[in-house]
Symmetry: C3
């Protein structure tokens, strides 16, 4: 059995945003056993699982993202939408467009420190759409 | 219900290649509701979802890939197959070997700008094999 | 049908560790057709599929990981657990927390050179927990 739920995330602006509860609050109770998939329908934002306890981690991620995908890399030509556009596509490719999480005993089987994150790589605040799929 | 289809992609050569239609043309009609997974059976190529509208994005990705995984990094020893080999393994690990896409109303639920890409990280033109899995 | 198996991996220490057999030896026979998912419950380690034949590849990955996520990047503040902590979170985000592999004719449909790897990004040796999910 497989069901989809389309969810709109609020317009966060650039950052690494914890969205675990925001996702769970918008879907029905989880089945006892299954897999939850989150798929993001955008090319300049990604979905990831990472450290949810210390907000400093989210701060530091921004610095590593700039190290990984610097703006104005010599030779790039896709720049009409601004210097944050092409790095956003690169970071979306690195982070990935979906995560898959086991559901055990009616709960997401996340580790002690894990949370679900939206990686928003554009400066502008935009609403983002994700599709939640539950396979049971 | 779960079915697999083994597909051979043409020998593209190094680049970030849009393969959405190429995949869809080689499998039967999609079910009304489900998930489509694409898994690549290679260690120097990856599968990704990214910006499909502007070919400039694919050009710029090549520059970012060289920034992320430069050839001849000091100290590396896996070089017998050429300087493009080890960076290709690294980029395959970063991009990932599979994507999972929701199927809604008989269509891939891709966002407006999303397409499916083969990341081919070796210079030589090689045919690449992917396994399409449909879960419904 | 969908089943989960919780597995504890041995404490490897930092490195890129081949775990294909270690996983397969701890679960029952695979079904004829399906998908095997491996999900890691940690935020400083990742799961990947890569080149399993030449151990030199694993050596070189360590150098590329340092290039991608250097220690002591100027400005970072999440450093109480040591300089290897924040780079580990970044590499976990880049590598991803799960892989999905088709099962065909009762075997993992890995390509000729592919194996399953644990990316352990912390120096300290820690046991790591993964959840294996089989969808059939």
């Amino acid at each position: 059995m497989l069901r989809h739920y389309k969810i709109e995330l609020p317009a966060f602006g650039r950052g690494f945003h914890l969205i675990t509860d925001l996702i769970l609050n918008q879907i029905p109770d989880l089945p006892a056993t299954g897999v939850l998939q989150i798929f993001i329908q955008h090319t300049s934002a990604g979905i990831s699982i990472n450290e949810a306890a210390d907000p400093d981690v989210r701060h530091d991620f921004q610095l590593y993202f700039k190290h990984l995908a610097p703006e104005n890399l010599p030779g790039i030509i896709h720049t009409e939408e601004g210097p944050d556009d092409m790095p956003a596509h690169v970071l979306a490719a690195l982070m990935g467009s979906s995560v898959q999480i086991p559901i055990i005993m009616g709960r997401l089987a996340l580790g002690r420190w894990q949370g679900i994150f939206l990686g928003e790589f554009r400066d502008a605040r935009r609403k983002r759409t994700v599709i939640i799929t539950i396979i049971e």
